[in-house]
């Protein structure tokens, strides 16, 4: 397939970030050397307090921000000016506010936007849209305008908009925010049923525990912990030092993680 993957026998990891540092134009430095590798098919939670640099990291994954130092590669393809179109097809980012993500007048057009921008047309495009909407259980809503949907439905359509691009890795920014418990569970079921690599940025620690076997903690612009989600959540000192708090009455030790 691509030139880089031929050097290693195993398939290139879905995401490979090494030594990534970044400072905003105003001089504020947000990332201080991040190293992260996510293997194909893994589901990883990216945890961290507000202002840790999570969103900055996410915006590097599809080349919206350009690395000041270090590099990012998606399935072996480096994120660089020349191959941004392919990178953006491979990295599907679901932003926090579905109203930002769903900018087209109807659900169908919105889901078709990404593949159509990549050059897909006609029946092939229709099939892709239907497939993506079916996977999130929203096929019946294809012709509705997004603002007529409930918040949970909008979030699911937002997931479909990136699934339609058949991404290598799905990046979700706070997927459970503003969802009622039922929508939250429905979204978890959908995410679990997908066979793509998932990187999930979240404050919702129980959700991370439920969905992601592995977690990394980003704090102060560097990764400070990387391990199984259950271990991290049980490490009280780590949690305290990085402003991570479990909801009242939630004990990660008592949970048997669905696998």
């Amino acid at each position: 397939m691509d030139p880089l993957s031929t050097t290693t026998p195993a398939p290139a990891p879905s995401l490979h970030v090494s030594g990534l540092a970044y400072a905003y134009p105003d001089g504020h430095q947000a990332l201080f050397g991040v190293d992260l590798t996510v293997a194909r098919g893994e589901r990883v939670a990216l945890l961290g307090p507000n202002g840790a640099g999570k969103t900055t990291l996410v915006l590097h994954l599809n080349g919206i921000l350009e690395a000041g130092a270090g590099s990012v590669a998606v399935a072996g393809l480096p994120v660089a000016k020349g191959n941004l179109a392919e990178i953006r097809r491979r990295v599907g980012i679901v932003f926090q506010d579905p109203d930002d993500q769903l900018f087209m007048p109807t659900v169908r057009e919105d889901v078709a936007f990404g593949p159509a921008a990549a050059g897909l047309r006609g029946a092939e495009l229709d099939a892709r849209v239907t497939e993506a909407l079916t996977r999130v259980g929203m096929a019946d809503f294809a012709d509705r305008p997004p603002h007529h949907l409930s918040f949970g439905q909008r979030r699911r359509v937002a997931v479909a908009t990136v699934l339609a691009m058949r991404p290598e890795i799905l990046v979700l920014d706070e997927p459970s925010s503003n969802l009622d418990p039922a929508s939250r569970r429905e979204l978890a079921d959908i995410l679990r049923s997908l066979d793509v690599t998932v990187l999930m940025v979240t404050h919702d620690l129980p959700y991370a525990l439920e969905l992601c076997p592995r977690s990394v903690v980003l704090s102060g612009g560097v990764l400070v912990a990387d391990g199984t989600t259950q271990d991290l959540l049980c490490d009280e000192e780590l949690m305290r030092n990085h402003r991570l708090e479990l909801p009242f009455g939630f004990d990660p030790r008592s949970v048997t993680v669905p696998r």
Binding site: R88, D99, A117
Partner: protein, 253 residues
Amino acid sequence: MGAGHAHKLYRHGHSPVHALPAHCKIAAVFCFVLVVVSTPREAVWAFGLYALLIAAAAGAARVPAGFLLKRLLIEVPFVAFAVLMPFVAEGPRVHVAGLGLSVSGLWGAWNILAKGTLGVAASVLLASTTELRELLLGLQRLRMPPLLVQIASFMIRYGDVITDEMRRMRIARLSRGFEARGVRHWGVLAKSAGALFIRSYERGERVHLAMVSRGYTGTMPVIDATTATRTQWTRAAVLPLAALAVCLLGWTL
């Protein structure tokens, strides 16, 4: 307002008028209004015929008369203007019920009322038989610059979102015991407007990020390319052509 209002204006249906492609309808309505506007105002009967044409089109579209008439209310401010006209205009005067009315003013008022009303009726008919999205695509097919169509569709898409934000801010103001009652409260309203602008602009930036993340490079991919058949164009042309005939009669008679 925003899209919220718009789909109230749109009436779902399956009439022959609904089925016509949007760009045919837009072109037809535009030509019809143009013809109406260039009809001499002295040909009073011609405007009656135009009204009949609109009524026939509304009948074909199965848009009830009450609905159409209610939507005509948007014209009211200019009706007020037209009503003033006979009093203000100069020239010879006639005396009706003790009031001195200018003859040319009366003609002017009639002119504005008749043409304005027909124009509004035609536009309402267009908006009530064509879906919003279709209207925008129709404009694009009529060679409106694609960027303009994009801007318009973003405006429609986010009109509701922003109006909602504005409503929430108002509720927040009311909940804290504030009610704008006069000039003294303009400052608070303006602060809300300023906050609304910042939110809108920042949302624009986020939408841009979301678009770029899905491969946007400045042009919207064309997803459906509807074209109109000759029959559809002919059907749409019936209204303006009939009007044109009336107009020509009006000039010659």
